[in-house]
Amino acid sequence: MTGRASTVGALLALSFVLVIAIGACGEVDHPACYPGDYLGCLCSSEVRGFATCNDGAYGACVCDGRTPGLDGSADATTADSGVVDAGKKGFLGDCTKNDDCETGLFCKDFPAKGTFCSRSCTTSTAATDCPPPSSGCNKDGVCKAP
């Protein structure tokens, strides 16, 4: 191999190394989401909810009918915590507005029956989503009032 060819070869070999090094260089590693973000998700065919970003990933879909920023945070963990909000009405308690209901519930107007705290549901999970005295999940994806 001539001197010039070996020089060119060495330079090209160095180029490969630099290409690999640059390609492997650290770049901004964007997380899937950022704290405080919400992702819209589908609770049922017509009902949408929001999943909250925690630790760089979205949690479970929360289907309480609330819109972040308007109705307070839609936090999936709170909905399942079982903690009773002081002064708030529980499932199928009477209400006049969303804030009257415990976290995870919303105030729903049932024509001819009145307004009660209820939650979103699916027909396949109605048994657990809508315990008695509710009679099941209606076609709007909301637990029925008695």
Partner: protein, 772 residues
């Protein structure tokens, strides 16, 4: 792009490039070609056009006779044979070695050598080195640039006249002079920038400056170049050009492709193709035919971060990656030069270009509605205006622009006694059209959607100019001139929202704009030291959508008008130094700016009324190697601009114009060793700037309002030229110190400046003439 995929891609490119290079080397030896000489000239794309591109080297006053700036205007005209070898093109400064010294205004030439040393990734990088010019890149791929000169509104570069080989490049130069097409730096062998009274030879914008990009020139002999770059953020760029002579004809072809993941996951992909053919048209004529194609395909969101988002994570990814812009540009031009006599020549430009642009922008709101199904929510929902609610829907802006123009340009040299005249006169006929459609898309990634708005508009422009460069004596040139513009706008709205629903309509409006642009400039002195000055009227027609409403009513938004003064000096005190300083003052009776505020949108232009601009630009260059007789080239260049642009009347009287910093400074150190090693370090400083007419310092929750802090950027390049093989290796760091800064708060929020980027490149230049 994952690291593994990037590595595989870059290795593949490097292997292909290496294989090609080694094959060419083997082929050369197989043909019995002698080894190339050791003194192969520095790599160039193709040789420059006839005449040097750089400003003339300084001459030592002690050793050379002093010559007036106009001394060679009395010299014998060039021979007829020279015309056949010339490149037919239009220059704003000129192709002769002393053209810059004769320019009656501030001017800058960025040469091929400057481009080779800086290794720019985009045009903005080089334009920032021009005194008085401020540039903002909108996106990481440099796909759109906002150019401002001396504090003028820089949005979409609509107040600067941008030309390529003397031909306008904005989408509709009169009706909508926006730059959605950012010229790719790889097309060019040089850039001319002229400010002051020299602008009246071109137009229609004569407010502050003209930038003329000079494309590659067909070579006299067979030449080729291949250049490959790879960098962080998935950046890959490759281009190749080839040129040769076929009898009396010469041609060059270049193909470029560039892609990247972007700094904030705003991926981009660009392709550019250029072809030029220079042919003689008889004994005294030459023509240049140019054809080009450009495509940009890039993620382009128009929503920036809120203040809280930026504070929490300045490098947060783009908020709306579904927003996307695709642009296709086709251009064809013929430039013909005919010498009738030794004193009269005619250059004729005929051109046509089409720009297709489709931009889908995801819908969003800062004021949510209960029950609405938002795709995602970003930001602080507990603070009003602190969050952005994105819908799974979009607005599609689908536009097509066509431009056709014809420009005859005469140059006539006559004498009246001892006085030499160079008369430039000519005109322009230009027809431009645009077709708009705006659609509502049913999901964020669609380009379809239902038609909400449709319009067509057109402009027919007639312009004429006359300028006489009068050399009263060897050391005095006075250049009076005048330009006249006549423009007829027509706008027809065919569909628009009425009562909340789109309806077919027919609403037509017309408007006629006239402009008279006189100017006078002067240069006095020698080529080593001269003083220049000028006065000219600035003019820029209003956008058609600003001057005719969607109801067909002519609005009060008129043309930008100004009165501009300049006084400066250029000196070459020795053969190794060069200095220039220019003072300027512009009084605008009406300047149109972008209204800024949470309720303002990108295209919400408003009359700022009377404004003032004044300041000083300066530039210097010192060649230490020439001064100290070193074998290693060591050059230091620096440029400083002070510019104060303020409102004269109204509630904001005395306030600075938005995005008009008081101070700009940049400098570069270039080193080239005879061994082939070389490099450049470039530093730039941009002072603080306000982003709204009220000059609010404090940032608001949306991030749209608030002062921008000063920024310091350092770029560096190391390179090695292996002369025997024609290979050049370079390692470049853009924003070497990884400075973190906000580059803009518009159109809707905070946009971070480019992050540190490392780029490695290999280039191979091949000169067929030296292999024979």
């Amino acid at each position: 792009m994952s690291t593994r995929r990037l590595t595989r891609t870059t290795i593949a490119i490097a292997i292909v490039a290496a294989g090609f290079l080694l094959e060419m080397e083997r082929h050369a030896h197989a043909q019995g070609a002698p080894p190339p000489p050791s003194d192969i000239p520095p790599p160039t794309d193709v040789p420059p056009a006839s005449g040097p591109q750089d400003a003339p080297p300084p001459t030592d006053q002690a050793s050379a006779p002093t010559t007036g700036v106009a001394a060679d205007d009395a010299a014998p005209p060039p021979s007829k044979k020279a015309a056949r070898d010339d490149v037919a093109e239009v220059r704003v400064i000129g192709s002769k070695a002393d053209s810059l010294q004769k320019t009656p205004g501030s001017g800058t030439i960025i040469s091929q050598k400057d481009l080779q040393r800086a290794q720019p990734v985009d045009t903005a990088e080089m334009l920032r080195r021009v005194p008085g010019v401020q540039v903002r890149q909108e996106y990481g791929g440099g796909n759109r640039i906002d150019i401002s000169i001396r504090g003028l509104e820089g949005g979409r570069s609509r107040r600067v006249l941008l030309l390529e080989d003397g031909i306008p490049v904005s989408i509709n130069p009169y009706s909508e002079p926006d730059m959605y097409y950012a010229p790719v730096i790889e097309r060019y062998r040089g850039i001319e920038v002229v400010k002051g009274s020299g602008n009246i030879l071109f137009g229609p914008q004569t407010l502050a400056g003209t930038i003329n990009f000079l494309t590659l020139a067909p070579p006299d002999t067979q030449r080729a170049a291949v250049d490959v770059d790879v960098g962080t953020y998935g950046y890959v760029r490759g281009y190749a050009n080839y040129g040769d002579r076929l009898g009396d004809a010469r041609y060059v072809v270049q193909v470029l492709h560039r892609r990247g993941d972007g700094f904030r996951d705003l991926a981009f992909d660009s392709t550019d193709i250029l072809g030029k053919l220079a042919v003689p048209t008889g004994a005294d004529g030459t023509a240049m035919i140019k054809i080009g194609y450009h495509r940009d395909d890039a993620a382009s969101d128009d929503i920036g971060l809120t203040a809280a988002m930026y504070a929490a994570e300045p490098r947060r990814r783009a908020l709306s990656p579904a927003s996307h812009l695709v642009l296709d540009r086709y251009d064809l031009s013929v430039t013909h030069e005919q010498r009738f006599t030794d004193h009269v020549k005619l250059k004729t430009l005929a051109y046509a270009y089409r720009t297709d642009r489709i931009w889908r922008r995801q819908d969003y709101t800062r004021s949510p509605s209960r029950g609405e199904g938002y795709a995602y929510v970003a930001g602080d929902t507990n603070t009003p205006g602190g969050a952005i609610f994105f819908r799974d829907a979009n607005t599609v802006l689908d536009r097509t622009y066509d431009v056709m123009g014809l420009e005859p340009r005469f140059e006539i040299k006559v004498r009246t006694g001892p006085v030499a005249h160079t008369i430039d006169t000519g005109g322009r006929v230009l027809r431009e059209t645009a077709a708009y459609e705006q659609r509502s898309g049913g999901y964020a990634e669609t380009y379809a959607g239902s038609l909400d708005f449709e319009e067509k508009h057109s402009g027919t422009a007639f312009a004429a100019y006359l300028q006489d460069k009068i050399a009263f004596a060897d050391n005095l040139i006075v250049t009076p001139g005048i330009r006249v513009e006549h423009l007829e706008f027509n706008r027809v709205v065919l569909r628009q929202l009425e009562g909340g629903s789109p309806k077919d309509v027919f609403v037509e409006g017309k408007k006629t704009i006239n402009g008279i642009v006189p100017g006078i400039g002067m240069v006095y002195g020698t080529k080593q030291l001269n003083v220049f000055g000028g006065l000219h009227v600035g003019f820029a027609p209003p956008r058609v959508t600003s001057s005719i409403s969607a109801r067909g009513i002519s609005s009060d938004v008129g043309a930008d008008k100004s009165l501009n003064y300049e006084l400066g000096t250029r000196t070459m005190p020795s053969k190794w130094s060069r200095l220039e300083a220019t003072g300027f003052l512009s009084n605008f009776s009406n300047q149109v700016i972008v209204a800024t505020g949470p309720a303002a949108g990108e295209n919400n232009l408003t009359d700022a009324g009377s404004t003032n601009l004044y300041g000083i630009e300066s530039a210097g260059l010192v060649s230490f190697d020439k001064a100290l007789k070193w074998p290693t080239v060591v050059e230091v260049g620096a440029r400083y601009t002070f510019s104060r642009a303020t409102f004269r009347h109204g509630p904001n009287a005395g306030n600075l114009l938005p995005y008009a910093p008081l101070h700009n400074f940049n400098a570069n150190l270039d080193v080239e060793h005879p061994s082939g090693f070389g490099g450049q370090v470039a530093y730039s400083f941009t002072g603080a700037q306000y982003t709204d007419a009220a000059n609010n310092v404090a940032e608001d929750v949306t991030g749209i309002v608030g002062r921008l802090d000063p920024r310091h950027i350092v770029d560096a390049t190391l390179r090695f030229k292996h002369k025997p093989s024609g290979l050049t290796f370079r390692l470049t760091a853009k924003n070497l110190l990884d400075a973190q800064y906000i580059i803009a708060r518009r159109p809707e929020g905070i946009f971070a400046g480019a992050f540190r980027q490392i780029i490695f490149g290999v280039r191979w230049d091949w000169d067929g003439a030296k292999r024979e």
